[in-house]
């Protein structure tokens, strides 16, 4: 994954996708998307496929609040509801599409409410509460596997950084709002809760954090050691079975 982000030959997509199009089909990850909302119908089609093939697979579509204003969101949920497809729509509502505040462009910023219009459950959860997210997801999966159709889960959260590197994220939002949400950081609060409820102790947490950091450092090392692809490789992978992009 890190090699792909750095545009290297050993990346998942051989350096052709980058962070926007990262995919690992071998694990059932059907691709991130550079077009907001475009992954929603693709995931819905994967759900149709699971039903068609008679498996117990469930498709999960992740997108943000901004994608919920694309036609694909409405069109896809409508079809999934009509055909009771095993799919879970997860909207990470962090209130901002780049700089635009959802509350300024939507009559009702509660995305989960939209599910009602399509006749499926819409569940709003505290997106910064790990267990609440888990519980809602579990319920949605059970429903999908029973053949009862899709669920829309809205995870209410906040973007702690800018939209991209180079966007400090300061112009379009209130400092107080950001600071309040930072206190509710899901990693920090879940850690505190686990320690408080004596499920894990401080030392174990520190070890986990150390391991994670090591894993990431190793990934960066791997990526930096991976060569860049050769220029000729730009002509490969367009069509299956064909020699390069030549037709």
């Amino acid at each position: 994954m890190m090699a792909e982000v750095l545009g290297r030959k050993d990346g998942y997509c051989k350096g052709k996708g980058g962070s926007m199009h990262i995919m690992d089909a071998s694990k059932g990850i059907l691709g991130a998307n550079g077009i907001v909302g475009a992954g929603i119908p693709i995931a819905t089609g994967a759900a149709y496929s699971a039903k068609y093939r008679g498996t117990d697979q469930v498709a999960v579509s992740f997108f943000g609040d901004a994608a919920s204003n694309q036609g694909t969101f409405h069109e896809s949920i409508n079809m999934a509801a009509a055909w009771k497809l095993p799919v879970v729509y997860v909207c990470e509502n962090n209130l901002f599409g780049i700089s635009v505040d959802l509350r300024k462009i939507t009559g009702n910023p509660n995305i989960a409410d939209r599910a009602f219009g399509y006749g499926i459950p819409g569940v709003a959860v505290d997106g910064n509460d790990v267990l609440e997210v888990y519980q809602a997801t579990h319920t949605a999966f059970v429903r999908a596997r029973k053949g009862e159709g899709p669920t829309l889960i809205e995870c209410k959260t906040y973007r702690q950084k800018g939209h991209h590197i180079g966007d400090p994220g300061t112009v379009y939002r209130l400092k107080e709002e950001l600071e309040a949400w930072k206190k509710r950081d899901p990693i920090k609060t879940f850690k505190a809760r686990l320690i408080k409820e004596e499920i894990i102790n401080k030392e174990e947490v520190e070890n986990l954090e150390k391991e994670s950091r090591k894993l990431i450092e190793e990934a960066v090392q791997f990526a930096e050691n991976s060569p860049f692809p050769e220029p000729e490789e730009a002509f490969e992978d367009l069509f299956y079975e064909m020699e390069g992009a030549k037709e």
């Binding site: 997509c13 350096g15 475009a38 929603i40 994967a46 694909t72 069109e75 992978d237």
Partner: protein, 328 residues
Amino acid sequence: MIKMKKVTYAQAICEAIDEEMARDKNVLILGEDVGILGGNFKTAVGLYEKYGDLRVKDTPISENSFLGMSLGMAITGLRPIVEIMFTDFLLLAADQLLNQIAKIRYMSGGQVKVPLTVRTTIGAGRSSAAQHSQSLHAIMCHIPGLKIVVPSSAADAKGLLKTAIREDNPVLFIEHKMEYNQSYEIPEGEYTIPFGQANILREGKDITVIATSNLALKAVKAAEELGKEGIDVEVIDPRTLIPLDRETLIASIKKTGRLFLADEGYERVNITSEIVIDLMPDIFYDLDHPPERLCLPNVPLPFSPALEFPLIPDQEKLYKRIKKIFKG
């Protein structure tokens, strides 16, 4: 001797889909009115009754999303055929067709195959006005990652469609709506026609006519008339625009020394522009006359037949234009 039978163009399409659905249980068809109605152009008659609701799926009018769904199906083991009623409507699904379907294999570094056939229609002549009559295949040819088929006769349509359905890459299969009710002789039984193989419909020594879709058939009729005037016309149907059978086209032009092209898309940025510049390095010194073409003029298609028909490239216009090259 191949046994022949008489069917309409629509029946030939339907037979191809039926045979491939019977052959492979992962083949399914989805689109607007493909179910109980049997297709807006009767290209799916009886399939709903035979294969059921899951394999023959009527969709809502949500072109972008049901086309996107077909991509999700194609990369998870199915082999969908999607019907988009008109190329005009394909513009609604442009993101899924051109940004997603055409590119997902490439963007993923070759991780997935995309066995997906998108069927659509082109052609004017039904007083359908500006949004149901366009021939927009050139736009689609601009984007790398799709194979693009423009069959002329029913026999070609059937054989090429079967190849499209078996293909592990996305194919845009473009039918001509004025052909659906026409009757044609097609071979009995199953057969396929490979992509990238142009069809020389009529041999001649004076001029090469490259004509797409049903204009290839009209060019043959025009050529018969021109023959009576002593002009010996060779007519070639490229069958697939991507891949393009350059070798057959080049060999013909080298033989005749003259090139005329015909396509029902708008003239500006027409596919014929691309064909000419693509072939030029190989034919330049063999040409005795600058290449000419007949396309749709650069105006939207009007409703009234009195306005529409004078614009549409047809047999008569082909005859006149080609004759002018020789007789002034």
